[in-house]
Symmetry: D3
Subunit: 114 residues, 6 copies
């Protein structure tokens, strides 16, 4: 299961490096705003990561979902809380979110076992 | 400004009644799951409403945004917190979310003045 | 209420003429394929118009919804059938389809009264 | 080819069970509304499954497309009818639907050979 | 017709100011990256604005379309070129882009008459 | 790396043939309009392919992105230009475009090495 996590993280790191090394200013700034946006503010990091997770689910981006699941896991989000995020995503985004929820549950399980 | 709120709420109520009176079981159940999903659970109501708000923004549904802004307002969400939700929506969803943010800011202001 | 229909149809006709008079071959062909696609085939016109309607709803295009509601009305689709199309759209597409359903119900009512 | 079907169905069943066993009420209700929505009503099951199929295609959800292709196959939908559904999806949703149509055709073929 | 332009620009300016005055760092940076992205680079400004236009059309954001039409107009883009952008948007994004094309044509005409 | 390209092209060709051999008039016409749209006109082929690329990215269709990367490569588009297209896609479409950019960079590299 951790194989699922390792593969995803290795590919993501390798390609992010290539994107940043291309020396396109706009891409670099988008990456830096991305870091800034999830920092502690009026809302705490855990809440912000759940906001990132639910957005990724309704927009149906599996890799974004995986990334935010990792971050939610780091923040100590419980499985019950994660399923409440999933439930809002499936309600607002509709049943087309179900296949992404299946893959999200698989990844969440892998994170627990790590 | 409160005119903006009153008009939206009146139309929403009137049409929701028509939808429910059509006696379609599936539509009725979707409405009832919608109520269930935002109730206190492992996550509190305020967090869930912010999850609903950010989902509505990245999916660019102005009326859904208005609805969740009302609920966030009822839950005592601060303007600073709301802008952090907006910022994640604009980051994840891109600059096409900006026009919806403009209308969201206008509605949020109307809610403050009410 | 028929004012709702008349205004929509007048604007649509006027602007379609402008688009076609611009003499862009690709746009013209897209319009002609559009006509072709909804003609009687292995599936009848009524079924095809319901397919067009549900697609327009999940993609949340109010003007497309109005257009297909007109066509469904011409094909003698009942209100009960229309609500079953709405229910699948709201299920598959999620609660963000609700505001579009409100406007669709309003337009469908206008078509009945015409 | 039937390998394509078996793998998809096994993963879907396994993960659906996990989702339902998580005991989140909202997720459970969404699954039960999903069953309800495609039952015989004013529209027959075959028509409803085609509505589910076209919605899944324009929203570009490969797994949802596979699921509805299975259901359409069970309902005796002909290849000619299926292609008319595909054609409306590609027209309304644009050429970005083409790659999903390729995978849909592959899955449809697998279902014929089963 | 210029009334269409004036109203849009006035609302956009007013609300952009409110968003920026909220003093949310992430929102401010997104606005500044937005300015950076359309500056002369390996691609010229005119090409970049057409890229912004076609993206806005396939994502069906009327206000974004208006904004990029203004910029394309400033860059001396011809009506024939604009219609080629429209044609790719309608092909890739499908017939749900048509209603947005109608409004885009209206706004483009207003810009010519200004 | 060229393995990535060969596999994609083989599958695409095989399935396109199946789609066209199904003898559905609407599908055939969509394919022929698709060819027409990217031909030299008021805009040159290279610009049109970049328009197709950016549209595919914001709509997050990996296979469409690959196809237009091939065409951009044939037209002599530089890596710097391609990254400016990527940057507009990530700005307009948001950070959910990042995972698709990773795969696009990988494919673009494969095309360079071919």
């Amino acid at each position: 299961m951790s194989h699922l996590i390792d593969e995803f993280q290795a590919y993501r790191s390798k390609m992010n490096e290539k994107i940043l090394s291309a020396d396109n200013k706009v891409m670099k700034r988008i990456y830096s705003v991305d870091t800034l946006a999830y920092q502690e503010g009026a809302l705490n990091v855990k809440t912000k990561e759940m906001l990132g997770l639910v957005s990724s689910m309704v927009l149906r981006c599996d890799d974004c979902v995986k990334y935010h699941l990792e971050k939610c896991h780091e923040q100590g989000t419980s499985t019950e809380e994660i399923f409440e995020v999933f439930s809002i995503a499936n309600l607002v985004g509709g049943t087309i979110v179900i296949p992404h929820t299946r893959r999200a549950v698989e990844y969440w399980e892998a994170l627990q076992l790590k």
